[in-house]
């Protein structure tokens, strides 16, 4: 269990009701997302997660600047002072 700082970017800021940065306690990414569903409700769930509760493909999550796809995905452990970034893929240009 760690108290981590989470930053949101782009369109995902809408999913948090406008919050760009929050501090949360969670032991892994899966638990962190559960916490967000509790605190931000249905709009977060619909925007960020698919029907199975996994992050949608355009949602990227980084722990200490490392993409969780290359760590333990949703089981990536969190410890105190870890920094988490949740941002949408950028497709324009």
């Amino acid at each position: 269990m760690g108290k981590v700082k989470v930053r949101f970017f782009g369109g995902l800021i809408e999913a948090t009701g406008g919050k760009k940065e929050v501090e949360v306690s969670a032991s892994d990414i899966s638990e962190l997302l559960d916490e967000f569903v509790k605190s931000f409700g249905e709009s977060f769930k619909k925007r960020v997660l698919d029907d199975d509760g996994a992050p949608r493909p355009f949602v990227n999550i980084y722990v200490n600047n490392k993409d969780i796809r290359f760590l333990d995905s949703l089981k990536t452990k969190l410890k105190d002072k870890d920094s988490v970034i949740i941002m949408p893929a950028v497709g324009g240009g």
């Binding site: 970017f9 493909p57 990227n60 993409d67 950028v90 497709g91 324009g92 240009g93």
Partner: protein
């Protein structure tokens, strides 16, 4: 390859780059011999083209399937008001040739498809990304991996953007860390907007990476994704790596991206109009279309060698590009609200004007 000396004119023109230790005489010679393919000549592509040409690369191939719109001008300052309705690659070539006549510019007015992408990107040292959809980027990514072509990826929307450099065989590819994306799920600049200074930052970093490749220096963004957000003023370097299960890197990719093989697709509207792109995949004779329009009494809005734009009626504006791309810009109230109707409308226009069917 035998390298020729820089000319006296080169020495004067590029003196600030030659005195710059980072480039120098040797570096300027490498740039002069450098060959780059730019895909997309819009928000990112136009500042990329300006910088590469000003700096004196040898050859720039520009591929784009669009015409200049009024709503491009606040950020795509490669173009000006006189370019509206002209194919972007044609307007770009005109401007870039007077900026630096020693650079060979090769404009291609076409859309990027799985069937033409390999031919489009071959024979260069690096490809640089000025595209505006993830679908087109996947097509490019797969070809770049297959042909072992270095690919500088860049994307931008609202106030934030990404840059990364992919060296096939060495680094992650686009689909290692952005797999399975669909354009429908991503924000589009026509609906959420884009900040001009952001495009300059993202395009500058892309150019810096491409220049490093031409200078035979290691790119800075290998296995790193740069993220910039000017609203919140963040610059982050995120770590990515090759994904052992990436089908593109494993060479296991056989299917093509269906959405871009479609004959017609709607893209985000502009200048208050709905926009449909129809890819006939047939070369067109722009001059004879122009003559036909005159005979029919249809007013041309813009006419170039690689394409033209005309008002078919007060609700439908049509642009036709030489390599077979047709763009329909439809006003509200035209009744053209989906791809099927757009295609039907195009059919009747095509029959009247003798254009190829999709």
């Amino acid at each position: 390859m035998e390298r020729t000396d820089l000319t006296d004119e080169d020495l004067e023109r590029y003196s600030r780059q030659i005195t710059l230790n980072y480039i120098g005489y040797e570096g300027q010679s490498l740039l002069r011999d450098g060959r780059v393919c730019l895909l997309g000549a819009g928000g990112l592509g136009s500042p990329i083209a300006l910088k590469l040409v000003a700096m004196g690369i040898g050859y720039l191939r520009i591929i784009d399937r669009d015409v200049v719109s009024r709503s491009d001008l606040h950020r795509q300052y490669l173009y000006d008001e006189s370019c509206i309705g002209l194919p972007k690659v044609e307007a770009a070539t005109k401007r870039l040739s007077i900026l630096n006549s020693s650079v060979e510019i090769d404009p291609i007015a076409t859309s990027i498809r799985p069937s033409n992408v390999e031919e489009l990107i071959e024979g260069v040292d690096v490809v640089i990304d000025g595209l505006d959809t993830i679908g087109a980027r996947y097509i490019l990514n797969r070809a770049a991996v297959k042909l072992k072509m270095p690919y500088v990826f860049g994307a931008a929307i609202q106030t934030f953007g990404n840059v990364s450099t992919f060296i096939p065989g060495e680094t992650a590819c686009l689909e290692c860390f952005y797999p399975g994306l669909r354009d429908e799920d991503l924000e589009k600049c026509a609906t959420v907007g884009v900040f001009t200074p952001l495009l300059d930052i993202v395009s500058s970093i892309e150019v810096s990476e491409a220049i490093r490749i031409l200078l035979k220096k290691e790119p800075h963004l290998k296995n790193r994704l740069m993220f910039v957000d000017l609203e919140n003023f963040c610059f982050d370097l995120l770590e990515i790596s090759k994904n052992a299960n990436c089908p593109t890197c494993r060479g296991a990719r056989t299917e093509v991206s269906r959405s871009l093989e479609k004959a017609v697709s709607s893209v985000c509207g502009r200048d208050g109009r709905g926009v449909f792109i129809i890819d006939t995949r047939k070369s067109l004779n722009v001059e004879s279309i122009s003559n036909k329009l005159r005979i029919e009494g249809i007013i041309l809005k813009a006419e170039g060698k690689l394409g033209l734009t005309f008002e078919y009626n007060d609700k439908v504006r049509v642009s036709v590009l030489k390599e077979g791309v047709v763009i329909l810009q439809v006003a509200s109230g035209s009744g053209i609200h989906n791809e099927e109707v757009a295609l039907r409308t195009y059919k009747s226009i095509a029959e009247r004007l003798g254009l190829p069917l999709a």
